[in-house]
Symmetry: C2
Subunit: 239 residues, 2 copies
């Protein structure tokens, strides 16, 4: 193909390098039980997601906004009759998410070892600055990255700015993550390469309808297949 | 003095470039009224600050953590008897802070005009990534800065990292802001220059006991005095 080799690999963090959604999901399960006296599980899930989406413009992503959305949904669902003790519990659960130990996903450490030296590595995540920094520090991986970017949103424009700061062109950039919506599609949109490594759990807001998508991305079952993919792509490019 | 000239000026944002604390203060006043049936105004202020401080390790800075701290304090102060309607109101007030229009402080636009070209300008703020970015965008000033840094904490180490990213040494860096604790002392700690421009209002957590402080910073009454200060310092350095 004779094009520039991939020299910068961006890795998403939550549910790509470490578990995140399962902490939210387990709190959400408790939340559904908490409001079970008033609404069904499905209603609880739907209303919470709707509320989170409506609140994105105020809160952005992250556990604090999630907690505030749970409180609003619980009060509304109970017609204001939920005891304040339950609201205190919701805040405690929010703190539980924020204080949760970081557990790396299988294969992450080896993958970073294998890529290191061949390409520059950037950790590119979105959400709450404070919580993301805490998780990066706790992961023990911070030193392995040439660059760490915590974004408020993973839009094409924000990726373009990241590439500017990394002094890299889209064609030499490959982004890896569990969210088609955040990690793959916006990167392809600006002319970069996207690798989707699905995680068992995904937040409703990140789900994308695949039908009708006409763009091409690389699909991997596991992150440990990534070094081979990068090597293969760069061989094709060299030939 | 014959040392390197100041080539990078860092400007804090909240209550240095635009109003922030007064939005929090006005909501806090409403909060004190809301809990007036149970505790005095002073108690309300003290308990809220105490709660905010205790929650910093979970929430970091910003309006979402502030809102959650208000809710916890209100429930506790009322022994759980506060109506859920009041809790909904607290969340609405939190959103009010987050959606508040950005109002530049007097002299800010002229000061940036006057400095522009002579030195590189960096906006260096801390707090909630999402809210800070929204305010920077709404301020219309984003393009005036060579660099924008949103930090989770303004520690000596974080300033050191900023200087690394700006490729600047501490001795050529001057930081300007309304908080001695966040904008001045940590910068002097790493060998940079600090300029304190007080704002009428300051959050309790940012207050510093000045007695016993043995470091030297520059004190200005108004930000519009900054270009003259920088010019004077650089003349001294050139001579």
């Amino acid at each position: 193909m004779g094009c520039v080799p991939i020299s910068l690999v961006g890795l998403d963090a939550d549910d790509t390098l470490w578990h995140s959604e399962r902490h939210f999901a387990s709190i959400e399960e408790r939340f559904r039980n908490l409001v079970a006296p008033w609404i069904t599980e499905t209603e609880a899930a739907d209303r919470l997601l709707e509320r989170e989406r409506a609140n994105l413009e105020f809160f952005g992503y992250g556990a604090k906004g999630f907690t505030l959305s749970m409180i609003e949904t619980a009060i509304e669902a109970s017609n204001g009759t939920i005891p304040t003790e339950a609201i205190e519990r919701l805040i405690e659960w929010g703190k539980e998410i924020l204080a949760h130990p970081v557990e790396l996903l299988p294969g992450v450490a080896e993958t970073i070892d294998a890529l290191d030296g061949d390409v520059r590595l950037a950790l590119i995540t979105k959400g709450d600055l404070f919580h993301q920094e805490a998780k990066i520090a706790a992961s023990g991986l911070a030193d392995r990255f040439d660059r760490i970017e915590i974004l408020s949103e993973k839009s094409p424009d924000q990726y373009r700015q990241v590439l500017g700061r990394c002094d890299a062109s889209p064609s030499e950039f490959l982004m890896v993550g569990n969210s088609l919506r955040s990690d793959v599609l916006p990167v392809i949109d600006i002319g970069g390469h996207g690798v989707h490594v699905p995680h068992q759990l995904i937040w409703g807001h990140e789900r994308v309808e695949r039908e009708g998508l006409t763009v091409d991305w690389h699909q991997l079952d596991e992150i440990r297949q990534l070094p081979d993919l990068v090597a293969r792509l760069n061989e094709e490019r060299a030939s």
